[in-house]
Symmetry: C2
Subunit: 294 residues, 2 copies
DNA sequence: TTCATTGATGCGGTTAGTTTATCACGAAAT
DNA sequence: ATTTCGTGATAAACTAACCGCATCAATGAA
């Protein structure tokens, strides 16, 4: 014999009314049906829960104990059902989100803040990584989605790039620099494997400006690239939003049109139906309407 | 449509195995039955919990959320059933116990200590009062039982009484005093209403010793009676176990046979089937075997 | 193709639950 | 004392739910 929630609900009603007829009425049952249910519950427990005094029903010791606990259990169940429905709508649960360093350095903080506001009960599990690696983890279902720089998903944001020059460089006199003016420079770029799309973007951009960039170094991080510029190794490109990375010994200048752009994409799994992502995308379109907010 | 525990158990099994056949096997069901149950659960939730990929079953977002919570709920239920069974055996629940001042002053502390040891999960709610009042509350079911002095229940302990004399009283030279030697004394007793049985006991004891006691005062509490003895109003009777109540100006002397006794009784309700009381009675017989332990 | 494995579905039988009607008991009213 | 009402338990008939069997459709492997 097995306990079912229906039996516990019947028990609660009877414990409240201490009267089979009225309790059955509240449960939309007939009195004999309730009688059987209570018998069944008492059978599974093994001991009587009510004392039938031919005139009135009273709780036994075990019944009193149970009464004090059923209520909590039943509300637990209804809460669980409700919250599961909310989870289906994306209001609850977990969102494992991958992101790149550059995304975190620009629009991701405000995106996450909006997400927390819209979905306060969703726990966002963040994991930083490189674009390629994050995309792989999404297809392996170890991440629910990832925000990467480069192609490979739905575009969600673009950021213009600028040039980082040594502060003694003659071009620093200009407020903005055209790509063709950099034809003879030495370039420090990201490794191709870390962000192939950006790498290709830069090279094709230079080729359209009439030269092939002389890449003398590949730096693992943006800060390292800036430091190498300060040390005089060459010049590098940097998102306009990250211009504050440039400190002592360097100067940041935006590019003239045609600019170079860094593309951010949202990578989702094949049958992606994670409901939180719908909310996230809605927030993204909201952010896009007021560009470069971060 | 309503959620039943059977459905949640089936959900858990399928969420564990992600395979209808193996989950059904574990549940001692056939695969179609499980299929229907999952459909039914998804119908009540309103959203799918599993993604059937024609080749494999995976959890949806809502399913993942639910999986993390069902386990706790199901164990809550089994724990509740188990603890209710324990409550029926008296291992859990509440015991509302009335007691008199004198009981607490003698054997009740050790009784309660034993009770806590035998029934650590039973919360004992104590209420002090006079015998008559406590017996009434038991019949009104506001108390599960009461330990009173006097008749009216099953006898559980007897304590010999002694005499409290002013320390300048000539009888203090004797180590024990016969009741008949007190024929000419003035007596301070408990009010009749507070403990009629004791009152009657004392008077009939005195009559058998050949005199009717000269009651000059009725004191509400034992301490008060002792103080009145110290003030020279007369003499009083006191349980031997409470001899330490006698301080400055008084002297306690046991009675010679035939002694006076105070009877303690356990008062239970008419259909008393509170399981904790069985344990309590077993402890009481244990205490009786080593008398005057407290 | 052929076979095995996946989950879904239609059907018949069984079980469990519900209803209606009745019984046995006790208290209160007459 | 008798009647009347209200209590919960019970029997029989009906209904709905559920389970198991057989089968189907879709997919992947040999």
């Amino acid at each position: 014999m097995n306990v079912e929630l229906r039996l516990l609900k019947s028990f609660q009603a009877l414990a409240d009314h201490l009267n089979f007829h009225r309790a059955a009425e509240e449960l939309h049952l007939t009195q004999p049906a309730l009688s059987r249910q209570i018998q069944q519950l008492e059978e599974t427990i093994g001991k009587p829960l009510f004392r039938r005094d031919k005139r009135s029903v009273t709780l036994t010791h075990a019944g009193r104990f149970l009464r004090g606990r059923v209520s909590g259990l039943l509300t637990d169940v209804t809460v669980l059902v409700r919250e599961t429905r909310e989870a289906a709508d994306g209001q609850r649960g977990t969102l494992a989100l991958g992101y790149t360093e550059s995304a975190m350095a620009s629009f991701l903080p405000s995106l996450l803040r909006s997400l927390r506001e819209k979905l306060p009960h969703v726990s966002v599990q963040l994991k930083q990584g490189h674009s390629e690696q994050l995309s792989r983890e999404v297809t392996l279902r170890r991440l629910d989605a990832a925000i990467v720089s480069g192609a490979g998903g739905t575009p969600i944001a673009t950021e213009a790039m600028g040039v980082v020059l040594p502060d003694n460089h003659p071009l620093t006199v200009r407020k903005a620099i055209s790509l063709s003016a950099l034809a003879d420079e030495k370039f420090i770029l990201f490794p191709y494997q870390v962000n192939p799309s950006l790498h290709r973007n830069i090279i094709s951009g230079c080729e359209q400006a009439g030269f092939f960039p002389n890449i003398i170094e590949e730096a693992e991080s943006r800060i390292l690239a800036v430091n190498m510029v300060a040390a005089g190794f060459g010049v590098t490109f940097l998102n306009e939003n990250l211009a504050h990375y440039c400190g002592q010994g360097t100067a940041f200048r935006p590019l003239k049109v045609p600019k170079l752009f860094m593309q951010y994409c949202l990578v989702e799994p094949a049958d992606g139906e994670h409901p939180c992502l719908d909310v996230l995308k809605k927030i993204l379109t909201g952010l896009a309407s007021k560009p470069n907010k971060a």
